[in-house]
Structures are given as structure tokens and as C-alpha cells.
Symmetry: C2
Subunit: 453 residues, 2 copies
Amino acid sequence: MDMQSQALHSPSLLSARDAREAIEAGLLTSEELVEGCLDRIEELEQSIGAWAHLDKQLALDHARQADKFRSRGLPTGLLHGIPVGIKDIIDTSDYPTENGTVLHQGRRPTQDATLVSLLREAGAIILGKTATTELAVYSPGKTRNPNNTEHTPGGSSSGSAAAVAAAMVPLAVGTQTNGSLIRPASYCGVYGFKPSFTRISRYGVLKQSSHLDTVGVFARDLDDLALIADVLMRYDAQDIDMTPTAPPCITKVMAEPVPANPRFAFVRTPRWDAVEQSSKDGFRELIDAVNQAAKDTVSIIDLPTQFDEIYRHHQNIMEADLAQSFADEYQNGKSKLSSELIEMIERGTKVSATEYDSSVSKKIQYSNILSEIFEEYDAILTPSSGGPAPSGLASTGSPEFNTIWTYCGNPAINIPLLQDPTGLPVGVQIVAENGDDGRLFRSSRWLLELLSD
Amino acid sequence: MDMQSQALHSPSLLSARDAREAIEAGLLTSEELVEGCLDRIEELEQSIGAWAHLDKQLALDHARQADKFRSRGLPTGLLHGIPVGIKDIIDTSDYPTENGTVLHQGRRPTQDATLVSLLREAGAIILGKTATTELAVYSPGKTRNPNNTEHTPGGSSSGSAAAVAAAMVPLAVGTQTNGSLIRPASYCGVYGFKPSFTRISRYGVLKQSSHLDTVGVFARDLDDLALIADVLMRYDAQDIDMTPTAPPCITKVMAEPVPANPRFAFVRTPRWDAVEQSSKDGFRELIDAVNQAAKDTVSIIDLPTQFDEIYRHHQNIMEADLAQSFADEYQNGKSKLSSELIEMIERGTKVSATEYDSSVSKKIQYSNILSEIFEEYDAILTPSSGGPAPSGLASTGSPEFNTIWTYCGNPAINIPLLQDPTGLPVGVQIVAENGDDGRLFRSSRWLLELLSD
């Protein structure tokens, strides 16, 4: 079906870029697009449970306003009229933000998170808030995997990943403190991008750990992922860990020709034994296919053994920070917290200041080792998850294939390249040097083009 | 002299765009540019007094950091390495912000105003803070007019206008609550731009009146004015009067060909009698020259008589708001306020709520009348000031030719087109429909090109 017919028949299937183009060309209104997304949600939400809060009338009102604004002929933003889903730990002035816990039921922020205000400036329609796990940690929410509803969608950005995968919305925002973005992207079979640390503002976002929390995005193709990243990757003095840096202009950098064919290091990580055999086979075939298409593109390398310690450092920081960030919830609402989270918080209170400081300060050493790898290779290829989404909804799966890159703060993309024998998606993670988000996208584009030739 | 030689010999004379280009081409470093500006300041500051706070080492440090960053090959912002002057009522985390009054002496904000953080994100070097009048109202600071130091530079953005005019810095930021930006631009002979109301964030800017306060910019040409406007015109949820609107992309819109030759309405305003005869003659010659170059381009029109009342409405709002905004200073530091400001504050306390509300609510009626004019004309031409900068430093001159456009919130540019018989600059103000900032620049460019043919 060509874009014109699709725009008219099932606009929710359009990419954000195609929808934007159709709106600019007068083939589609934002109202029709939002209606299409709401119809899709109506049809599928009961089986998927991607949304924590929806307000159809509000979304349609905003869409009609966007259409009216466009008719005045003034400049429109990069996402004019395009619906976006927002993880329900990100403050919005016109929806509740309940952080996945009954303890915050009815919480209504008065102010938008900075990232939400950037989306509104770009003309995006906030379609609703997406379901998440308890306080964005492990305890699952209601969301199911659109590829097979008996399987977990992953977490904690469960609803954002599932909503994009089910074509309820072309774009969504999530966060990652360990594996909360790249893992659900892998399980749900969508593109996910976790930028370099502190390149999207966390002002107005539930704080787990200021050393680890990273905002990221979901889309169904790489161009859309770049588009929303360009809207959100802006300096914000309100996030005190950010430093002023020029916008990375990802769409522009991604479109540039590569100066030379990129080289990739396939990194198995210390957890390779936990990867399912069929996924191991899939990665092997992928490496062979790439090297067949362009000789010596991928080399398999191993990280130095000290990387085995990263999981412990990450755990020290995350659990100690959880204990601090959720001290109120623990003290005043412990009975309403999951036992899993209580255990993490209690372990966190036992982390000594020395251990904590040592775990924080080691980041620079690990990053330096990775920088050496990135002197030789444009990017690292590595599993996004230990395989496809596990069966069952009691767990959101393991973040262990994301820990290194979250701890070190490197930008990472999930590319939904593989499938397990039952057809479930398995993601490939591509990781670049810290601060080199544009090159990460360019290398990803090059790889996708190579494989599609 | 071509740009290459100028870049090497007197970089402070370069436009921001030329400097940026020279830096990108490796002909100039930001450090050299900042050094050039500091040399120029060293040479002229004693006679002009444009600066409230300078920290040469800090500015040079930032410039060296910018040079180092560029050498890494990552994307750089629109103002990478370019020095900018900031009116000393705008908060900066690394300079004092003393608001032109001894009452705020030693005040050191911990956080940047949003507009300063946007400049830093774009790579600009904050060169220092520019002198202003007492609390940005009328009582003059130390600044003198660079064209003739026996004359006022205008106010309250005195230092910003004078610093740009004296080529101490290519760009500066100011504000206008009545005539504080367009008037000093006219008196000093530089380009000034006051955007549509609430299109540059006022978060972190001294508040006089939330109904009137408008941030704007100074430059020595129209392209530079558009460049810094594009950096600053971003939605900021922290300024609660802003609404999410797409960036106006002024540089892009300005470069577009005009769909048809623009038409201009020359508006004398109810204060025409206060315009000096030589300036009246200058405007007459300008209108003739334009109409000779392109027939029927300018028509002289008069505003309906009810516009006579705007000055009173503006005064009601401004003085009542001053009384509220400076209540602390009045109560605790009255002896250190000028008698002029005390009078304004005391008049402000006597404005009744009914008068105030009526003066606020009438804005929409006036704006509707102006909108009718803008249906027929692309822009209004009108004096920026009643003539050249008055002689003497005891007053900053009258804002009466700016009141209508500030009250109604229309975007306005000062173009330094005229001169009085002694060679002092006299500005032409060009005003457009509210929200049509891009078209204002495009019409201005068209007019300048017509006159230079």
C-alpha cells in the first residue's frame, strides 16, 4: 500500500515522518491521525494494557488545535500533530503521573517535565501516559507483549515499548536506569535509543539514581528514532547534571556518508553464557552475513575481566540511590511496596559510603577502556537481551545485557534484527563512544543498508 | 579589507556570522576573537562605560574550552565561540547580577536565566554583564553613547546597545518594558529586535511587569539579529506566560523570497508632534526613496484616535506592576531609590484594580485594530525614537515611540537607516503582526535590499 492510501485507511501504521509529510501535504489531519491511534488502542488495549492514562477528548482537542495552527501558515515543529506516548514516571501538567505505584495514586503534577515541554514546542500531541513497573523498577505492571500476550514486554518502560510495537502510537518516551529501555525494545521488536548520559533532561522525571537515570525513546524505524531524539536532546539547566552542549543534529549526521566503512566489535559481555542458544546462533549468522557483505566489518572481542565487577558497582549505586530516592515510600508505605523492591532498598541502606564512592568513581576507568575500543571500532555490537521475551508476566526479564552501557553512560540503540524460532523478536544492541550519538545513528544506518542490499 | 584580513587584525569588528565562519574555517579561534573584544573594551570602556561586570580570565577560559571542543569534531552550536553581552538584569551563574541598583550590590544568582542557558548550549561565550539603568527603569547608569559621548545611549538596555555599537561585542541581549530596547538601538545606531510578546523566556530575568516585559537582542546587521533570535526564541515552561509554539526559524524564513512585494504602512503615531524636524524630513525622504524604487510600497496612515489612550493604559499597568515587583526595595531601601522611580511606584500603588484590569483587558481591542492594518500591510514603519539621542546624560530619552508596540506585544526591529545633520543615528522601527516574527525579518531584508540597489 502506498503512503497516500495508508494515510487514509490506517494512519496509526504510518511512521512519524510519513505522517508529518502527509499532514504537510494536506492528505491527513492530526485529528484523523490521533483518531486512528485511538481506534487502534480501542481495538488492542484490553489485551495489551500499554496505557496508564488516556484522555481521548484532550488528545483530540490538542490535535484539532494543531490542525488549526497549521492552517495559519506559521512555522510548525518537527513533530507537528504527531502523537507521542509518555512513560508514567514523567510529569505532565494535563495527565496524572502515578509512577506505577498505588502510593502515588491520584498524583497530578502542575508542571510538565522539560522533555514534555520540548515535545509540545515541537508540536507533538501527548496521547497519554504509558504503563510502567512499580516505581520504574522490576515489579511488573499490566502490560503484555504485543507479539505474544503470554510473554512479558520487558520493563520498566513496558507500556511505551508495547504501544509503539502495537502501532498504537508512532513514538514513545521511556527511561533506563539498568535495562528499562533497550530490553523492552528488544522484547517488543521496536527501535529503542538510550542517548549518552545526561543528554536528555530528567527535570520532572521520577528520580531513581542521578548517576544512572537516562531518558530515551522508542520508534518503529531508525529515522523516527532520530527525529524524536533531535527534539529531546537539548540542554536544560534544570537538570543539574547536564552541561551545555550543542544539539547533536542526529538526523543531519545520520544522513552524511560514512568517511570509511565502519568497523564493529562484537562484544559477548561477561554474561554470554546466559544468552539462549537460538539467539547465539542468530548473532553468529548476523556476524557472518555482515562479514560476507563487507569483509572484516565485525570482529569478536572480549572485554577485560575487570568488567565482571561492573554488575556489582551498578548494583551498589542503584540500590543505595533507590534507598534514598524512595525513603519516603519505604517509611510511610512499605506495606504497599513489592517485596522485591523492599529487598533492594534494604540492601541499598547497607551499602557503605566507601563502597558507594568507589563504585561511582570507577566509572571513569571503565569508560577509558571502552574509549580505547572505540578508537579501533566505530561501534560495539552486543545482545540487547539474553534472548526473546521470556514467557509469563510475573517477571520483566533480566537487564544484565544493558548494565555495562548504562553504568558507563554510552549511547545505545536496539535494532530489532533477529527472531527466535517461534517468531519472537530478538534485538541487537549497537553501542558507541560517549557523546558520539550522531555517529551511532550513522553506523546503524550503514549496517541496516548493508543488510538490506 | 576582506574577511580573512579582518579576522586576523580586528576580529571584534566581525559580524557574529563572519566570526563563526572564520572559526569554522580555522582562520580564527574563539580565544583570539574574545581577546580582540577585550582589547577593544580596554581601549574604549573608560569613555563609554558599557559594562557592569567583566571577568576577562573567565571569558578567555570559556573561549579556550570552546576551541578545544571544536577540535573534537562534534557538532557545534549556532554561536560556537561567539562572545555575547548580557544586560545586568538577567541572571548568570558565573557573574553577579545587580539590576542597576546599589540595593542589589553583590547579588550572585546560583542559576542561569533560561536564555543564558540557551546561549551556552549554542556555544556562546558570555563576555560579561552590560550596564543598565536603575532596576531597568529610567534613572541612567554610567553608559555614554559611542557616537557622541556627550549624548545618552538611551535605556534601560544602555550597555548592551552601546557595547554592540562600539564593536566591543557582536551581539548582546536586552529587555523592553516600554522603550528599553528599540530606543537605545535607535540612539546608538545598531539593529535591535523585540520579538512578539512571550517568545523569549523571562525565567531568571528581573521582573518589572509580566504583562509587558519582553527580552530582545542587539546586533550590527540583520543576519546576526536573526541568528541570535533563533537561538533564544524557544519555548520554556518556566516562564508561565509562554505557550508551546514551534521555533520561528527566522533565518530560514528571512531567506525565502517574498511571495509579493511587501507593502508598508507609515504610522506617525499620536506623538508625531514630538518628532524632531530633521527626523521628520528624514522619514519623508525615506518614504519617497522607497516609493521611487518600488511604486506604492509605503502609504501613510493614521491610527484611530483611541490609540491616544494607550499611553495611559501602559502607564497604569507598568506603574502598578512596578509597585508590586519592587515593593521590597521600596519598603526596605527607599532612600537608595531615585525620586523618579519612587514617584512611579507611588503612583502605581494608587492605580485601582478596576483601572488596572481595564487597562490590561483593552490590549485585545487594540491588537485587533492592528491586525486589520496587517491584513492590508505586511509591516508598519514608524519612528524608533523622536529623533537622535538627546544631549546630556541625566535622562535616557523618551520611550513614547515604543509604548504602543510594547503594550500590544507586536514584534519590532530597529533599523539604523537615518542620520541627523550632525551624523547621529536615527532609527526606523518596523513592526509586524503578533507572532509573525519571521515575516518581519523578511520584510526588513526586502526593504534593505531595495534601498541598497
